[in-house]
Amino acid sequence: MAGLSDFVYNTFLRRNFTMLGTVFVSAFALQMAFDTGSDRIWDSINRGRQWKDIKAKYVQAAEDDDE
């Protein structure tokens, strides 16, 4: 435990620029995780009701209209 925390402290937190880099990288990762996670929750709540779910039924007809 002490070895791990020493390692983390010395690698990420000791120098200011590594600390800042860690903060920004983790902010990016946090954003990705939040966005994909909330999207997945939204999709699972609205399953079968969104355009991407029912597109297959209509897209053939729409293309026929266009041509």
């Binding site: 402290y9 946090l30 954003q31």
Partner: protein, 206 residues
């Protein structure tokens, strides 16, 4: 570094002032000491909290800035109108077609062989806005340009004027068959929009 073990120190204090010794007995703080070796544990905790706070704050700042920037970009309905596709097979040789693109008229002229030859043989170096015909068309038989007079923005009339091209009725500017200004007050040639031919017989403007 000077180290001292607090539990060894006497939990009392010998005051140099006589008669007050009984009032200053210092309690032992040994129970509150950090029992782990070194100071990394609490430091890690503090840096973790600071870093998490910073990460969340930068997330919020980034989202705020992004919202403003996205607000300024073009919306989907504007983007949908930004391009126009025209079927060129419907335009016979020697005919003009005027279409609306981004709220402005666009002239499409299917030029005949003699018109192409006339446009290319013109001594363009001495014109008011010198531009060769090859700089103004991608395919010589299709002349595509904005139908807005460069003088004050009227819409010129096709197949009119002294040079067989366009004539602006507002102040009498004459454009030739390549849309170049030849006579009248307009300072510049008719503007050429961005366009390309994705396939034979189709043009996409925008």
């Amino acid at each position: 570094m000077q180290t001292r073990n607090a539990s060894d120190a006497p939990a009392s204090f010998n005051s140099p002032f006589k008669g007050s010794a009984s009032s200053t007995s210092i309690p032992s703080f040994a129970a509150y000491r950090n029992k782990s070796k070194g100071e990394n544990g609490p430091k890690m905790m503090q840096y973790f909290m600071v870093g998490t706070m910073g990460a969340l704050a930068s997330l919020g700042a980034k989202a705020t800035v992004q919202d403003f920037l996205v607000n300024m970009s073009a919306s989907a309905d504007v983007l949908a109108q930004a391009k126009v596709e025209i079927d060129l097979a419907a335009i016979p040789e020697g005919k003009n077609v005027i279409i609306k693109w981004r709220g402005k008229p666009v002239f499409i002229r299917h030029r005949t062989e003699s018109e192409i030859k006339e446009a290319e043989d013109t001594k363009w170096e001495s014109l008011r806005d010198p531009q060769s015909d090859a700089d103004r068309v991608q395919k010589p038989e299709w002349l595509i340009m904005l139908g807005v007079c460069t003088h004050l923005g009227c819409v010129p009339i096709g197949e009119a004027g002294d040079f067989g091209g366009w004539f602006c009725p507002c102040h009498g500017s004459h454009y030739d068959i390549s849309g170049r200004i030849r006579k009248g007050p307009a300072p510049l040639n008719l503007e050429i929009p961005q366009y390309d031919f994705p396939e034979e017989g189709k043009v996409v403007i925008g």
